[in-house]
Symmetry: C2
Subunit: 479 residues, 2 copies
Amino acid sequence: MAKDKKLVEAITSMDSDFAQWYTDVVKKAELIDYTSVKGCMVIKPAGYAIWENIQKELDARFKATGVENVYLPMFIPESLLQKEKDHVEGFAPEVAWVTHGGLEPLQERMCVRPTSETLFCDFYAKEVQSYRDLPKVYNQWCSVVRWEKTTRPFLRSREFLWQEGHTAHATAEEAEARTIQMLNVYADFCEEVLAIPVIKGQKTDKEKFAGAEATYTIESLMHDGKALQSGTSHNFGDGFAKAFEIQYTDRDNQLQYVHQTSWGMTTRMIGAIIMVHGDDSGLVLPPRIAPVQVMVIPIAQHKEGVLDKAYAIRDELLAAGFQVKVDDSDKSPGWKFSEQEMKGIPVRIEIGPKDIEAGQAVIVRRDNREKTIVSLGELSQKLAEVLNAMQSEMLERARAHRDAHTYDVTAYEEFVKTLEEKPGFVRAMWCGDQACEDKIKEDTTATSRCMPFEQEKLSDTCICCGKPAKAMVYWGKAY
Amino acid sequence: MAKDKKLVEAITSMDSDFAQWYTDVVKKAELIDYTSVKGCMVIKPAGYAIWENIQKELDARFKATGVENVYLPMFIPESLLQKEKDHVEGFAPEVAWVTHGGLEPLQERMCVRPTSETLFCDFYAKEVQSYRDLPKVYNQWCSVVRWEKTTRPFLRSREFLWQEGHTAHATAEEAEARTIQMLNVYADFCEEVLAIPVIKGQKTDKEKFAGAEATYTIESLMHDGKALQSGTSHNFGDGFAKAFEIQYTDRDNQLQYVHQTSWGMTTRMIGAIIMVHGDDSGLVLPPRIAPVQVMVIPIAQHKEGVLDKAYAIRDELLAAGFQVKVDDSDKSPGWKFSEQEMKGIPVRIEIGPKDIEAGQAVIVRRDNREKTIVSLGELSQKLAEVLNAMQSEMLERARAHRDAHTYDVTAYEEFVKTLEEKPGFVRAMWCGDQACEDKIKEDTTATSRCMPFEQEKLSDTCICCGKPAKAMVYWGKAY
């Protein structure tokens, strides 16, 4: 029982050391394990099952907008990576280089893809000839590599899993519409499925993707008040098309460049779920993303009929479409409760001899520990109600937390002080000049998270330099 | 319309040049495209959708046997790869080596995984301590790299997609049972879903996996009489466990080594589907794996009501659970038929003004061009019958083809002549000595495909050396 003991030992409390709390949760909820490759991790079954659910949900939403899946090679020849100037400058310092195939040195070294714009461009240059070949709306699910110096499970690792969509369009308008459409898919997914509220907006030039004309982002706020970039969608205009000569003949038989987009979401969203919803007992999974939604825990399971009843409840709920397991191990109910809580399973159903006699069971919510006694005849209906309530209350709680940690400021001294003392988003006006972003970063370590689509005018002047303001910006310290 | 013209130009006939026919089909059915990375390919939407269906079917079958999915890193440090002697000898000559991370040389070079036994062993060595931690029955879906000299789309490429299952068990018996169980999953999947009959058997020591105690395989026969290894399942015994020190304490508190297995199936099965079922008009997809099962093709679609009826049929069939599309492009019906045939869509439904008047439609099977006129009221029921019949007849046709190209021989001269003149499997007895396998390979280029589980005694002596025979072997030239 050594492992159980470790499990229910208290983890570090989030208020005393949030970083350690996070590490404890990813380990003790059995989401990941470290490996002998520094900065790379094993995603264990409980972690990977969350990713499978993310994939299933996102993939269906993508396909509903006409996306088709493909698979491109993981290797990019150096000459291909170098074709777009900004892009190679952004990525070359952090790629892994393959120099030998078998016993032979390669004629040209290749990097393991950090992202696949260059490969898709090379592909589209061959595939696209006529306006009839457009649009191309392709996506791939794969792993990518970025040789980061500092790494953290899910949030920043040298290899991570993601999807990357890459599209090519006849017009600038269509490319822009697709960029925004996919940002909205991400935002809806985060709010509806992960119960994570997001701010939609545009990145400043300093923070945009290497090679993009415009980068849009959804930004979320973690429990500790740090921001997390949760999904990005890029409009490349015709910059890559010109570098890679991706041209088509239009209806008037004129050669035109295509307009391109790309957009991605990664396994870091598992980190976001942990840091938005988790508590001092461990992980808390929103019902809509939880691989196991219900753990049935028999009380006094040695007594006749208890285990049978637990299995009958499981079978009834499975048939009703819930994801259910029974914990019939030889541990005590107390251990089982702790394990279910550590793993973030949204509800447990307690069923013991007295419950059976009374024709009832107890549903306990993971997020607020609320108990509901329900008659067995109504179990499946009440369970649906409890899970739905939990899903929407988790979103509202996260939104309330974010709003309570979002501060509007109009004076620089207050701005710096707020960023120092009050973890959260700070909203302030900005002149549009990168020098101010640089100064703010130096003074506070905070960065511009986005210029939100929903703009407000907090004052007329830039928080930093006092020149006329061009946009309201969300500022924050970020993962 | 340049692209359509290329499409319906006759492809190379399979009898005149099977290799060129294969290349034509993968290109013209839009399954793959070549890339600037030699030996790596783009899997296009029509090809990737087949892989998605393979994944969905196999993954469900795996999970029904208790398999859990995980994800391990793509990089293997050189020292880890070298821990098991046979394994490193088998794979080191064909791996891609990463030597630099960003601008810095790595302290230890790493290969891109050609397979992940060593990573799983490293992981299990930490994860497994007690008999309570066993069995581990993990699988991952990923891409792997083998730096092959000669490559062919799907069949042999430097990067390919696959799943690799890796399990650890308390006893040798349990490991052997899991090895056979997964081979049976593969065999059932091939026959029931891909309509590809397989021979189940064991590889000889010469042909087994590097580091395995026993390798089991399913072997299928392509239309040109060449064999294709279609899935393998390996029993490692405790060899890797000893090299990686994967030990557990049993119920009597004694330290024991685990017993391990691994098993994999790859994107080469898309190549198998092409080469088993395809014909001179292109690809033929079994209904159970086809991403699009039905193409509704309107005849005289400019006439009033025709397109509306085509859409109504599509909607009805979608609601009944079929995968259906309408070809409402401005091409002629003849072009559309050719495209549907090239892409291997199992049936087309032709619907024109006369059909609508008569309250009927025409179902045409892709494999044998059989036409069935059905009343619109019975369409969905008849379609199910046609697809079911097609699925089982495709399997039976492939089985008949294989059986007609399987030869039993008992004399060496006849053996060599048969392998030279009659493409197919040759069944002959073998003494168990690798020298005979080596001689046979030199004389014929054929290899032992497997020692089938269903043994027959064709004679008492080895086909090659005349010594007492130990097993009947399937021999053949292989992809």
